[in-house]
C-alpha cells in the first residue's frame, strides 16, 4: 500500500489537523473529530450537520462554512462516526433554531445518527436520509438505496435555505425534496485502498469495471468490460434519468471518485451533456470535480437533480467552504 500517511490509525485526525491549519474559517475539535464553523454556532440560524466515514473528502468537513454545513463529524475511514461525535457536532451547530441531520443511507450511519438524536435532549432535531443511488434496489428486503452524490447537493441547497433564515421544518423539507428529485449511479475502474486494510478492497481485471459501485468500495452489482467514455456515460445516465422527472431541466453533476483525473471527468461530462441533449433534457446547472470520493478509487459517478426555481436560487446563493465557493 502506497499512501502519504504516518500511521493508518492516525490518518483521520492528522488530516483534520491539516484541514484546520489550511482554513482559518474552520475550527476542528480533534478530540471528537468534528469540523465546525469558527464563527458558529450562528444564533437563530438552523444548524446543519452531516457526518460519515472518512475517505470521501471534501465531503463532509470540506463543506463546512457559510451557506452549507455548520459542523461535520468524521468517522474512521469508511466507518460511520459514533453517537458522541454526532452529538458534539449537533452542539457546535445549534444556534437555537434546531439542527438538521443529513445522513447518508448506510446502516451504520443511520443507527449512529439515530442514537445521537435519542441522546440530544434540548435540541430540536430533524433528519433527512439521502438515498439516491439507483444501483441499489429500494426494497423492503434490503438496506435501501445508498446515499451518494445527491448528498453534496442537499448540503448546498439546504445550507442556503438555513442561511436565508428558514425554519427547521422548511430546511428539512427542501433537503428532502432535493433528495427525492435527485438520483445517482457510479462506476469504478479500480478499487481504493483503506489505510487500515493495507490492500485494495477488491481486485478488478485490467479489462473490467465495477458498475454501480458504492463509495466505500462496496462492489457493484455487475462487472462489465471496460467501456468507452461514451458507453460509460450511457450506463450511468440512462438508469438515473429513468427515475427522475426533469420538467425544468437538471443540475448535472459528474463526480470524480478519487484517482480519476479531471481531464477524464470533463470528457465524461461532455458525453453526459451530449446524451442529455439527445434526450431533450436541458442542463441548467453543472458541477464537475471530485466532491464525494472514495479514497484512491478510479471512477466517476453521475448525479442528476431535477431542479425547480427554488432549488436554483438556493444553489446560486453564496457559499464559502473549502470544497465549494462562490458569491463570496
Amino acid at each position: 500500500m502506497k499512501k502519504l500517511i504516518n500511521a493508518p490509525a492516525d490518518v483521520v485526525v492528522e488530516s483534520l489537523a491539516g484541514l484546520a491549519a489550511a482554513h482559518p474559517s474552520l475550527a476542528v475539535d480533534l478530540e471528537q473529530r468534528v469540523v465546525h464553523r469558527a464563527d458558529g454556532p450562528v444564533a437563530g440560524k438552523v444548524g446543519l450537520i452531516s457526518g460519515g466515514g472518512s475517505g470521501h473528502e471534501p465531503l463532509h468537513g470540506g463543506f463546512v462554512g457559510l451557506g452549507m454545513l455548520d459542523a461535520a463529524a468524521a468517522g474512521e475511514v469508511f466507518t460511520s462516526p459514533v453517537p458522541d461525535q454526532i452529538l458534539a457536532a449537533t452542539k457546535y451547530a445549534d444556534g437555537g433554531a434546531g439542527v438538521l441531520h443529513i445522513v447518508k443511507n448506510y446502516t451504520g450511519d443511520v443507527m449512529n445518527f439515530e442514537m445521537a438524536a435519542e441522546l440530544a435532549d434540548g435540541v430540536q432535531i430533524a433528519t433527512v436520509v439521502t438515498n439516491d443511488d439507483v444501483a441499489v434496489e429500494d426494497s423492503l428486503y434490503t438496506a435501501g438505496r445508498r446515499g451518494v452524490g445527491v448528498t453534496v447537493l442537499v448540503e448546498k441547497i439546504a445550507g442556503a435555505a438555513a442561511e436565508a433564515g428558514r425554519s427547521l421544518a422548511e430546511v428539512a423539507a427542501v433537503a428532502q425534496r432535493v433528495n427525492d428529485r435527485g438520483r445517482s449511479m457510479g462506476l469504478a475502474l479500480t478499487s481504493g485502498t483503506v489505510p487500515a486494510a493495507g490492500k485494495p478492497t477488491f481486485d478488478l481485471p485490467e479489462d473490467q469495471i465495477e458498475l454501480g459501485v458504492g463509495i466505500h468500495g462496496e462492489p457493484g452489482r455487475q462487472r462489465v468490460p471496460l467501456p468507452s467514455a461514451r458507453e460509460a456515460a450511457a450506463m450511468l445516465v440512462e438508469p438515473v434519468l429513468a427515475e427522475i422527472s426533469p420538467e425544468q431541466g437538471v443540475l448535472a453533476f459528474v463526480n470524480g471518485l478519487g484517482a480519476t483525473p479531471l481531464i477524464e471527468q470533463y470528457l465524461v461530462y461532455g458525453e453526459v451533456a451530449a446524451l442529455l441533449e439527445r434526450h431533450g433534457v436541458p442542463i441548467v446547472r453543472s458541477l464537475v470535480g471530485p466532491y464525494i470520493t472514495s479514497l484512491d478509487m478510479a471512477g466517476v459517478s453521475v448525479t442528476l437533480l431535477a431542479v425547480d426555481e427554488e432549488m436554483l436560487q438556493l444553489w446560486d446563493a453564496p457559499v464559502n467552504t473549502p470544497g465549494l465557493r462562490w458569491g463570496v
Binding site: F78, V82, T107, M111, M115, A143, E218, P219
Partner: protein, 206 residues
C-alpha cells in the same frame, strides 16, 4: 448478578464475565485481519479494524476502572463500543452489551437473549438476512434450551456457516444482491468469536 448466577446449562460469575470480555478482545485482535478480509468481499473492508479498535478501548477501560458489579462492567463495555466503533457493528454490539447488562439479573441465557433482541431491534433485522443475528439467535436458543457450552458453540457455528449461501438483506452486503451469496458474513464470524469467548471464559464455571 455480582456473584455466580445459577441456571440450567451455563453458569456465570463475576470474574468470568470480565474474562469473557477480555477473551473476546483477544480473539478479535487475533482475527482482525480475517474479519476485514471477509468484509472486503461483501462490505467495505473495515469490520476487523472497527472491532479491534473498540475492544482495545474496552480493555483499556477495564484496566483503568473498577466496577460495582457485572451489570456496571457490561454497561461500560456497551458504552465504550458505542463510542469507539462506529459503523454498523458499533451500535449493534454496543446495544447488545447494554441490553445484556440490564437483564443480567434474569440469568445469563435470558440476558443473552435480551442482548440479541436488542441487536434485532436496533438493526431492524431478523435471522436469515445474513448478519450477526444468524450466529447470535441460534446461540441464544441453545442457551435458553439449557444446552451446555460446547453445544452452544456448535449452534453458533452452524448459524455462522448458514450465512455463506444466503443473499444479504441487511447492511452493506445487501447492495451486492445475488453476488453476496457464497461469502461468510463478517459480523456472523465476529459474533461466533463472542460465543466462543463466552464458552471458554464462562464455561470454565460449568
Amino acid at each position: 448478578m455480582g456473584r455466580a448466577g445459577e441456571h440450567a446449562g451455563v453458569a456465570v460469575g463475576r470474574v468470568s464475565v470480565e474474562a469473557w470480555i477480555r477473551e473476546y478482545a483477544r480473539l478479535i485482535a487475533e482475527a482482525a485481519p480475517r474479519l476485514t478480509e471477509l468484509d472486503s468481499a461483501v462490505g467495505d473492508a473495515d469490520h476487523g479494524a472497527n472491532l479491534s479498535r473498540g475492544m482495545a478501548a474496552v480493555v483499556a477501560a477495564l484496566d483503568s476502572s473498577s466496577f460495582d458489579d457485572d451489570g456496571a462492567l457490561l454497561k461500560k463495555v456497551g458504552m465504550t463500543l458505542v463510542s469507539t466503533v462506529g459503523g454498523a457493528s458499533g451500535p449493534l454490539y454496543g446495544t447488545f452489551f447494554l441490553r445484556v447488562s440490564s437483564a443480567l439479573g434474569d440469568g445469563f441465557p435470558a440476558a443473552f437473549r435480551a442482548g440479541v433482541d436488542g441487536v434485532a431491534a436496533r438493526g431492524k433485522s431478523a435471522v436469515g438476512e445474513k448478519t450477526m443475528l444468524d450466529t447470535l439467535v441460534p446461540a441464544a436458543d441453545a442457551l435458553e434450551a439449557g444446552k451446555d457450552w460446547p453445544a452452544v458453540v456448535d449452534a453458533a457455528s452452524a448459524g455462522r456457516n448458514s450465512t455463506v449461501p444466503l443473499v444479504a438483506r441487511k447492511g452493506r452486503a445487501s447492495y451486492l444482491g445475488e453476488r453476496s451469496a457464497g461469502h461468510l458474513d463478517p459480523g456472523a464470524e465476529s459474533s461466533f468469536l463472542l460465543v466462543r469467548a463466552a464458552a471458554s471464559a464462562l464455561g470454565a464455571n460449568d
